[in-house]
């Protein structure tokens, strides 16, 4: 694994006037993993990404990539690819010229721009002005620009915005394969269902502060809500559980959710009592539910 890909934030704080956008934030995004960066609107995600990339100066704290601040990297474009906002294109400039500027900066032949356009499926739009591009096309162009030099680290802010289902599918597959080669992905998105299928690790922030950092599977397991059981003798089971001090709630006339127990224990009880089981499933919340619970932002 390339050690150069570790993203590390230590006590990152940013004060804009009287507003503390980011407050003592510390987390790591490891090489070989896709790290999801989650938070409600205005929670400080974009400010944090911009601090990591040296575009916003932290009030206190330090953000490093491979142990160095972004602005101290020798060849930043070769080491880090970033997609921050799709508005960052000069509208009258063609897609090819946008990438050709990047190619020149990297000392690459301009034919690299054509290859990158083909790679994101925009080869037919090379001479078209970016001002006429849809949001999804701009996202693809931004991705092409970020990946022009095949960097070790990717920082992406809402990269799935505007992508069609095929584009989202392609992006998910690409990020998984990118991380599988030992490289680092830090990904911010509001599309939590999509994030749940893409990320290995989750960093959740709220009001500029770290709320949680954990592997996705661990985070979901910690928030497991109970076991859903469908049985023709559900009423008898509820009575037994109540007697044992285990709470449950009805979902349908023959289905209940038993809270705060594991399926192994519950299965044993039902077997002992010869209660027939039609269905028994551990109820795991969605990433969205976990996120809303962690940030308390359901109503925001």
């Amino acid at each position: 694994m390339p050690a150069g890909g570790l993203i590390e934030c230590q006590g990152l704080t940013k004060q804009f006037g009287s507003v503390r956008a980011v407050d003592g934030l510390s987390f790591r995004a490891e090489p070989g993993r896709v790290t999801g960066f989650l938070g409600p609107n205005g929670s400080g995600k974009t400010t944090t990404l911009r601090m990591i990339l040296g575009l916003v100066r932290p009030t206190t704290g330090l953000a490093t990539i491979g142990g160095a601040r972004y602005q101290d990297l020798r060849e930043p474009l070769r080491q880090v690819g970033a997609v921050l906002d799709t508005a960052g294109f000069y509208p009258p400039r063609s897609a090819r010229d946008h990438l050709a500027i990047g190619a020149r900066l990297l000392g690459m032949p301009e034919s690299a721009a054509d290859a990158a356009l083909a790679w994101v499926g925009l080869e037919g739009q090379a001479k078209r002005k970016v001002g006429g591009f849809s949001l999804g096309m701009r996202q693809r162009l931004a991705m092409a620009s970020a990946l022009l030099a095949s960097p070790d680290v990717l920082l992406l802010d809402e990269p799935a915005n505007g992508l069609d289902p095929a584009g989202v599918h392609w992006l998910r597959g690409f990020l998984r394969s990118f991380a599988a080669t030992g490289r680092t992905v830090l990904l911010s998105s509001h599309v939590l269902a999509e994030m749940a299928q893409t990320v290995d690790e989750v960093v959740v922030i709220h009001r500029g502060r770290l709320v949680a950092q954990a592997p996705l599977a661990g985070l979901l397991a910690m928030a497991t809500q109970g076991v859903r059981v469908r049985s023709p003798e559900a009423s008898r089971l509820v009575g037994l559980l109540s007697g044992a001090g285990v709470s449950s709630r009805w979902i349908t006339p023959d289905t209940i959710i038993v809270e705060s127990v594991g399926s192994e224990w519950l299965g044993g009880v039902m077997a002992d009592q010869r209660i027939p089981v039609f269905e028994m499933v551990a109820v795991t919340p969605s990433l969205e539910e976990v996120f809303l619970k962690l940030t308390g932002s359901a109503g925001e």
Binding site: T47, R50, L53, G54, L55, V56, R57, Y70, Q71, L73, P76, L77, R78, V80, A82, L84, D85, A87, G88, F89, Y90, P91, P92, R93, S94, D97, A100, I101, G102, R104, L105, L106, G107, M108, P109, S145, A149, S150
Partner: protein, 265 residues
């Protein structure tokens, strides 16, 4: 990683900036307006008038060569646009991701814009020659009576346009807002500068007037004939050039401080 040969970082930055400028529509639009102005001014000066006779004297070609000096306002706007377009279209993010040492990024812009302005100045002089030489030749007049003066005029035009392009870059970096920077500059040159000069002259501070930007640019091009404007004696070309260079330095310093100190959000 790639296997192609890499050029030096400075060369790569310059080549990338040249492509940025080449593909900047607003830059070429302003350049075209400046060119049109110089063409029309030259035609107006060179072509025979309805009353007969040429507008200029025997050294009309030489004098026509100085007309592009009036394009200072256009090259300054070009300099402003080169920087402010990055903020207006949020491409500053990409610019500073590629070149996180922001002073380097702005310096490269200044160098490439200076080169562009020099080329533009030479183009404008070439256009005035292309218009005035055939007219004077048809009158069998002496085309260039004093080659040394012609060379000096060329140099003065190149220097004044180059310095105003740099003033534009510095102003653009300092203000960042494209509309405010362009309107502010045009407002200064078209109105404030003249009003300020008049106020200073009325209050016994006429000695300061030659140091104002417009008057300094006139001083830099005194080889074109004017030694005074509105009764104020202009600076000689070299001191006037140094005054303009001081404006470049001050605006460049402010622009650098803003560029380095401000967040890119």
């Amino acid at each position: 990683m790639s296997s192609y040969p890499r050029s030096s970082l400075a060369l790569r930055l310059v080549r990338a900036e040249m492509l940025r400028l080449r593909t900047m529509r607003s830059l070429w639009l302003v350049a075209a307006i400046g060119l049109l102005e110089v063409v029309l001014t030259t035609l107006g000066e060179v072509l025979p008038r309805s009353g007969g006779g040429a507008a200029l004297g025997p050294s009309s070609v030489q004098r026509a060569m100085g007309l592009p000096a009036s394009a200072t306002i256009w090259v300054a706007i070009m300099g402003i646009l080169v920087v402010t377009v990055e903020y207006r279209h949020a491409t500053a993010t990409g610019l500073f991701l590629a070149t996180p040492r922001r002073l380097v990024a702005i310096s490269v812009k200044a160098v490439v814009t200076l080169g562009f302005a020099i080329g533009y100045a030479l183009l404008l002089i070439g256009v005035t020659l292309a218009i005035s030489v055939p007219v004077d030749a048809s009158r069998h007049e002496v085309l260039i009576s004093d080659p040394a003066s012609a060379l000096i005029i060329t140099l003065e035009v190149v220097v004044v346009l180059g310095l105003f392009a740099l003033i534009g870059v510095g102003l653009g970096a300092a203000v960042r807002n494209q509309v405010a920077a362009v309107l502010g500059f045009v407002g200064w040159i078209v109105g404030v500068d003249g009003v300020l000069a008049a106020i200073l002259a009325d209050h016994g501070l006429g000695a300061v007037v030659p140091y104002l930007p417009s008057e300094a640019s006139f001083g830099l091009t005194t080889s074109l004939g004017s030694l005074s404007v509105g009764g104020v004696h202009l600076l000689a070309p070299v001191p006037a050039g140094l005054v303009l260079l001081a404006y470049v330095a001050v605006l460049g310093l402010i622009g650098c401080l803003v560029t380095v100190g401000e967040d890119v959000t």
